[in-house]
């Protein structure tokens, strides 16, 4: 899904939570201004990732409550609903090549974890 607009709006960073609220291997849900939801994670090696909070297999907004882990070194999130596993790097489902979660850029300002309001696929 590449952007079709020539004038991409500038990245809009939203405060998701205080940095200390998101510990290693933990996740939180973030409500974006357009009504979408992101699931934000910090891995054990202190990397940040954000993917769709909605589990595409069941439609429930629960991905942030899943278990963070890895499969052969690739960071993953297992949905708490039916245990489907997704790559945190790409959002790709490890079971179904057709299914992928959106991803968002994330940064840690030191005090706050921020998330880009535009999903990465929508950036130019």
């Amino acid at each position: 899904m590449t952007a079709t607009t020539t004038h991409a709006p500038p990245a809009l960073w939203i405060d998701a939570c205080p940095a200390h609220r998101l510990g290693a291997d933990d996740g939180v849900a973030v409500l974006l201004p357009d009504g979408r939801q992101a699931a934000l994670f910090r891995t054990r090696d202190n990397r940040l990732f954000a993917v769709d909070n909605i589990d595409p297999f069941t439609g429930a907004a629960v991905i942030s409550r899943g278990i963070v882990g890895d499969r052969r070194g690739e960071p993953t999130i297992a949905s708490p609903m039916l245990k489907n596993v997704f790559s945190l790097l790409t959002g790709q489902s490890l079971e179904d090549p057709q299914v992928r979660l959106r991803t968002w850029a994330v940064r840690d300002t030191g005090a706050t974890v921020q998330i880009s309001a535009r999903a990465e696929e929508e950036s130019p």
Binding site: C17, G35, V62, V68, G69
Partner: protein, 836 residues
Amino acid sequence: MEELVVIGNGMVGHRLVEALHDRDSDHRWHVTVVGEEPRTAYDRVALSSYFDGASAQDLSLGDLSGPHVDVHVGERATALDRDARTVTTASGRTLGYDRLVLATGSTPFVPPVPGHDLPGCHVYRTIEDLDAITASARHARTGVVIGGGLLGLEAANALRLLGVEAHVVELAPHLMPAQIDEGAGGLLRRLVTDLGVHIHTGAASTAVEAGADGRVRNLLLGDGTRLDADLVVFSVGIRPRDDLARAAGLRVGERGGIVIDDTCTTSDDRIHAIGEAAAHRGTVYGLIAPGNAMAEVVADRLLGGGATFTGADTSTKLKLLGVDVASFGDAHGRADDCLDVVVNDAAGGRYAKLVLSDDATTLLGGILVGDASAYATLRPMVGSPLPGDPLTLITPEGGAALGADALPDSAQICSCNAVTKGALTDAVHTQGACDVAGLKACTRAGTSCGSCVPMLKQILSQAGIEQSKALCEHFTQSRAELLETVRATGTTTFSALIENHGTGQGCDICKPAVASILASLGGGHILDGEQATLQDTNDRYLANMQRNGTYSVVPRIPGGEITPDKLIVIGEVARDFQLYTKITGGQRIDLFGARLEQLPAIWTRLVEAGFESGHAYGKSLRTVKSCVGTTWCRYGVQDSVGLAIRLEERYRGLRSPHKLKSAVSGCARECAEARSKDFGIIATDQGWNLYVGGNGGFTPRHAELLASDLDEETLIRYIDRFLMFYIRTADRLQRTAPWIEAMDGGLDHVRDVVVHDTLGIAEELEAAMERHVHSYTDEWAAVLADPAKLARFESFANAPGTPDPTISFTTTRDQPVPGAALDLGMPAPRPQEATR
């Protein structure tokens, strides 16, 4: 998608559809099955167990209906049009096919003796036949089975079990002429006669005669003898059901059977025939193994493979009326110049014959009667050089001593399913099969008659299967090994464990397993620090996640006993938070539809009223159900409610490899269903009987008696030991029943450890349980008292009080239930949202 029509939903037709379903991952075929019997396929081989208490449900092989398979039962195919490529059925359905499989099996042959169709005459093939025999047997004193083969003897046993005096009439000079020789037949006759079955060999059945009521009365034999007979069962052989094929012009064999080549194709290359309906190289096989092999060949061919069927092993082993009989390979010694080695021990009731090649080096076949324990080892050796002196192989100790390692890779271990030793070792090494169940799943070995299971166990132990106990890619250890590691090293965190004893970051398999181990060993609150991130879905928020992302709330109601006041509080909480309310199967109440951020408020109300977490979310003790017992019941002999409450309060919060359930009944009427529980207690006049290893769920099982007439303190000591022993040694997600089953020595070993303390660990197990009982605190009360834990119960990190806009409800039977799921990829809230 191409269309496959299968006529016949018997054992072989079922196997074909199952094999195709397993392998057709690209969905090349849509399958329509037409079966004449009123039910889906069942285990005909085990049919006689119907008289031993098995139900039709127990015999069922399962319904294969699904998106790509339609199964029509109670529907007979009546015509076949090969030009139009259609099949017509009795109800007038017309089914088009690209390929057709005839799996119509056979019918019992009924010789045209006068009176063969009188009321009271039966055959022995379907569940309906067995029901009819049962009905006739109600008024019968004596019954005659015509035919002394494998099936005839099974039928005679059935009559015995129905309380009917049984006679067997066989035309040949000895019993089971197809499988065994005269010497073996003589011994078999003696053993069967000892059991009260009357045998008449070399006897022709001339006529079935009616009594005054028009029902069967006598059987007249060729020598003029009249046998009393209130019912007759014909079991003299089978006739392949080739009529459809015959009418459609397909080639059939001289003695019947649809002629097939080595690819199981008939004279029309779009039509296959398999099982007892087919004639291959002039043979119609009346056994399941060749039928299954044909089914596998056709499944492979349908997917473009090149498998062939070139004939099959007709070995049989059966336990008739408690008498072992086995026949394998060239049992009758038909090969040129072959040699026999025979042990005929009339006094000991054993007969054994081995057929050897002319140079006495290779085993060709054999017969065992009276003691067939060597069958599992001998049969796979057919065609291989003998590992030792033939005579020692068939002396009582010899055969059993020979292990699987004496066999070459090509030896067939499971003849029912044509699985070689090589295929089994391969399943262990490359497919990760690490127990008998795993081998069954990978290869199907052991799934039919079960006689090869002892060999499967030997193969597993020889293969050194430790490595496959690995929990997941992050830990090579099994759950029990990790528990011992945690105990020995005093590890208290997942981070430390994976760093020192594992690799990578962990995953949704090892994290909850380790969390459970830490909790079992007394690791504090399950949401303390990093532990929270290890927990599985439901443990993570101390509630069960529902399909729309909301949660259910289950307060503990020990023993199912509750005061009206507390009942009212539950009602009020449910009303105030608009929660769907249901009485569970566990004698308590479940409140559904709570949003994550509502859980603390709901639990505040419940905890104030004196409720605690019911651990409906944990792999831990669920409920101890009770019946009213002496409290109210006129039959009760002990206080079952009091004991249930005591047990529930003792073991509440105990984390275990899988969930634990219990129940206590006040007398043998068993109203609490204690025998369907992991540990169940039934009152006796003297005290309590303790049953262990039962469960409902996927694989229901009755608990078995561990110890009887216990006083309450001994009972609790035994349960303490039992549960802690289970927690220490079971695998992840292994309930008590499979744990006992997998244990060397099974229930006897559990009894040795729990009751007789043969391992000398009873004291330690009791102490561990005592620690659990003393450290127990209510998990929900602890969350409410700790702001750090409470902070996790928010909908959004950046908008903690805002309800998840994707959650909606509608109303069913006056209660809220989840609204329609949102269209995926459209996370914007829908208009009907926010009904609550």
